[in-house]
């Protein structure tokens, strides 16, 4: 089995609201997969279906070769989960929670536990009610990362962590990847996704809107070109795929779709290029395109925000 998770056409409704509306998601074994979407897009609902907590109304979901609902207990021995909003039993200490969750799953690597506690700078003796949000998050992370699970499902795991701890988290996930573990990482932190993920899936309103590698997705959006030319250029304005063209004397600035890049550059070189700056689309722009609720005029929005 080369896919750790395959979800196809998943539908889940709560009363009259449709949380998932034909969602697709494929996570290959051994990869770190970014799972992105605006708040309320259905990320946590998808994860709950994958964990067998909720039953989908339609569509299929397979997890580690099994049915997430029917084989929940057996599958859970092979995965570890960090919820998005970690709440713990107030009268248990952090160390007790880590051990308990590990044992309920079927074991914990004590050496890694000690190592992670030190790296995350977490005092395991404190009662859970005294932990801050970030520290509760660390408890759940240590419990998951110190397990021997082959699949890690992390739902916005770094919310509440400081930048230093976020760095520790990134290192830890990189290590897990090198050991061949699969990670499903739901996140809002774009630099984190950029640094960690091999492939990603973007969902919106319960539907998958993009998936692929970061390079694939970058292809789908526009590159910004700034050039100083030897003379005036005429052919650009009418070219399909060129947007937001501005000309000041010999300088031009425009955004161009990936498909039209080659033609646009030919137009420039025909005139003669003195200097050229090309900016690849940032991940932010990529997201704005999908996160923006109005949808249509995404290019301008992304431009305006920069």
């Amino acid at each position: 089995m080369s896919d750790a998770i395959t979800v196809a056409g998943l539908v889940k409704t709560f009363g009259s609201s449709r949380a998932l509306d034909g969602l697709n998601l494929v996570v290959r074994t051994g990869e770190v997969h970014g799972f992105l979407g605006p708040n309320g897009a259905g990320k946590s609902t998808t994860i709950r279906v994958l964990l067998g907590m909720m039953r989908a109304d339609a569509g299929t979901a397979r997890l580690l070769g099994g049915d997430p609902w029917a084989d929940a207990t057996a599958l859970h021995r092979r995965l570890a989960y960090v919820p998005g909003d970690v709440t713990l039993w107030p009268n248990l200490s952090g160390g007790e929670v880590i051990d308990l969750l590990g044992r309920l799953r079927g074991g914990l690597d004590q050496k890694r536990r000690a190592d992670l506690l030190e790296r995350f700078d977490l005092d395991p003796r404190k009662k859970s009610r005294t932990y801050s949000k970030g520290n509760r998050q660390k408890v759940a992370l240590v419990a998951a990362l110190a397990s021997d699970a082959e699949l890690l499902i992390l739902d916005e795991p770094t919310s509440g962590l400081d930048p230093l701890m976020e760095e520790v988290f990134r290192e830890a996930v990189q290590e897990e990847k090198h050991r061949g573990r699969t990670v499903l990482l739901s996140s809002h932190i774009l630099s984190e996704v950029e640094a960690l993920c091999d492939r990603l899936t973007i969902i919106r309103d319960g539907l998958t809107v993009e998936n692929g590698t970061l390079a694939d997705l970058r292809h789908l959006t526009r590159t910004t070109i700034q050039a100083e030319l030897s003379g005036p250029v005429d052919g650009l304005a009418g070219l399909p795929g060129v947007h937001d063209l501005r000309t000041e004397g010999g300088r031009v600035r425009f955004a161009v779709d990936a498909a039209a890049l080659d033609t646009a550059l030919q137009q420039l070189t025909a005139v003669g290029v003195r200097s050229l700056v090309s900016q690849p689309p940032t991940l932010e722009e990529l997201f704005m395109r999908h996160y923006d609720r109005t949808g249509a005029s995404t290019g301008r929005h992304a431009e305006a925000r920069r």
């Binding site: 907590m53 919820p83 039993w89 051990d99």
Partner: protein, 536 residues
């Protein structure tokens, strides 16, 4: 910015949040005194009939413990005496209301959000106190108006109304104090309910002893629950007792403010200590986790049951002596209804039933722990491990079913020990009392099963089990006076239990109730296996 800046807005917030609960809480206690007026008017229309009713009731110790001492046979006195359990209700409600708007808010982190806006340090406490006290005053005034409208003397009606309002305000202030002590709302409620239980018990001991010319009559003055009776509505009102309530409110409120000023946001008077860095080797199953979550309240409950059992067992013995001290006429009446042994048994039947209801409440609470784990987001990390829903819920269910069993065994043994030692019949009384306590268990299990079935099938309505318990208990207490049809009273699981000690032992109802509890639990499990988790 003065000490109360923002309190007005917080009161509106509290009223908005409680817009359904609070009117209900005011309406329910208001209903009973009026219903009793109608009931006594139709059941005991003449002064002669009321006199007879009073004479039989005055020596019923179970009545005295539940309702307080009866001092006369006028309609007003009978009605307010029979409504003597209402101060308990009002106290509980206003105390829980205050904790709900103070410590519970703080524990959930919402007070921090509010505290960062333009509100003063004590505004939250003040708003909660004013809301709960205001509701008590409204209840008191409505009750007084209701009684006056039924033709009862205005002075007595007002005295009773103010008495109820006073109890509500005192317990609101007690709620404000206990909310400062602990960091969790659950423990604050626990401490508050212990205080309420102690007040109830003190009134019982004082009033029973007072009637037997015992030396402990003063004890009932320690109980805010007893102050309503001490005002003597319709029996030569002692208005100054209301001043006592006002003083108590002032002192308790000041105490709460001092405590609140000394601690940090989210902190309590009792500090959290460091826990172990690693879990004990036993903490590896859902049952072990449930034990960690339930053990504190279970220990407190068992200790409470032991104490109450011991006290009641000791009081019971002194009841026999009442016979020797009472007037020939009273002795004659007691003899007619069955002799001294019967009086003691009657009292104990009432107490066993009372503890059965309390146990059912605690069993429901233990089941609702499952719901709290679900809505608090703590169920997901557990169910994402190799634990299925049956094992997870089984851990908590074990405590909901066996916890009350342990409590009742301890209670029955304590009553048996105290009563047996005092009467020199330990070998006979211990098993007798143990049995009498244990027959409550099937009814307790029915309520645990009901709560669990709701949790599995209609999780949002899980707490409805409490409402069912409350209604069926009230029907049991007042059904006869309100002349409810027998089938309504029979809806309560408790109505079918043998009246032990002293009554006839019938096994069939126990078997039927246990079977019902089993069916309810199976239904709950079936629902739980199929439904989504968590349901918000």
């Amino acid at each position: 910015m003065n000490a109360l800046t923002g309190a007005g807005k917080l009161i509106r917030l509290a009223l908005r949040r409680d817009r359904v609960l609070l009117p209900l809480w005011v309406f329910l206690p208001w209903l009973f005194p009026l219903a009793f007026v109608a009931a006594f008017n139709s059941g005991y229309p003449t002064a002669q009939a009321r006199q007879e009713y009073a004479e039989t009731s005055i020596h019923n110790t179970a009545f005295t413990v539940t309702y307080g001492a009866l001092h006369g046979s006028s309609l007003g006195e009978l009605v307010t005496w029979r409504a003597g359990f209402i101060p308990l209700m009002v106290g509980l409600i206003s105390m829980l209301t205050v904790i709900r708007h103070t410590r519970a808010e703080e524990e959930a982190g919402r007070r921090e959000l509010i505290g960062a806006t333009v509100v003063s340090r004590h505004a939250g406490l003040a708003a909660a106190l004013i809301t709960a006290s205001g509701a008590s005053l409204v209840l008191g005034m409505l009750t007084a108006l209701g009684l006056i409208s039924q033709g009862l003397p205005a002075a007595g009606s007002l005295a009773f109304g103010f008495g109820l309002a006073g109890t509500g305000c005192v317990f609101a202030a007690i709620g404000a104090v206990v909310a400062q002590l602990t960091t969790s709302a659950g423990s604050a409620r626990g401490i508050g309910i212990v205080v309420l239980g102690a007040a109830f018990l003190l009134r019982g001991i004082g009033d029973v002893s007072g009637k037997a010319d015992g030396g402990l009559g003063w004890v009932s003055w320690l109980s805010p629950i007893g102050w309503v009776g001490q005002v003597r509505p319709f029996g030569g009102e002692r208005w100054w007792v209301l001043g006592l309530a006002a003083c108590a409110v002032a002192v308790l409120t000041a105490w709460a403010i001092v405590l609140s000023g000394r601690r940090d946001l989210g902190g309590g008077m009792f500090h959290d200590r460091l826990g172990p860095a690693a879990a004990a080797s036993g903490l590896r199953t859902p049952l072990a986790l449930a034990w960690r979550l339930h053990r504190g309240s279970l220990a407190g409950r068992v200790a409470g049951f032991a104490l109450v059992g011991f006290v009641l067992g000791s009081i019971a013995e002194s009841l026999g002596n009442v016979m020797n001290n009472s007037t020939p006429a009273a002795r004659d009446i007691l003899a007619r209804i069955g002799g001294p042994g019967t009086v003691v048994d009657q009292f104990l039947v009432g107490m066993m039933a009372m503890l059965g209801v309390v146990s059912a409440g605690l069993a429901i609470q233990a089941v609702l722990r499952l719901r709290a784990e679900e809505s608090g987001g703590r169920v997901e990390p557990v169910l994402a491990t190799a634990v299925d829903r049956l094992r997870w819920s089984g851990g908590h269910l074990a405590f909901a079913l066996l916890g009350p069993a342990l409590g009742l065994v301890v209670f029955g043994s304590a009553v048996g020990l105290a009563y047996g030692m005092n009467t020199g019949d330990l070998g006979g009384q211990l098993p007798r009392m143990l049995g009498a306590a244990l027959v409550q268990l099937p009814a307790v299990w029915v309520f645990a099963g009901l709560a669990f079935a709701l949790f599995g099938l209609l999780p949002r309505f899980s707490a409805g089990a409490f409402a069912v318990l409350l209604v069926s208990t009230l029907f049991g207490w007042v059904g006869a006076e309100l002349e409810l049809s027998q089938w309504v009273i029979d809806l309560s699981a408790f109505a079918h239990l043998p009246q032990l000690p002293g009554g006839e032992v019938r096994v069939l109802p126990l078997v039927v109730l246990t079977a019902m509890a089993t069916v309810l639990i199976v239904l709950g499990l079936a629902g739980l296996r199929r439904r989504d988790m968590p349901v918000g």
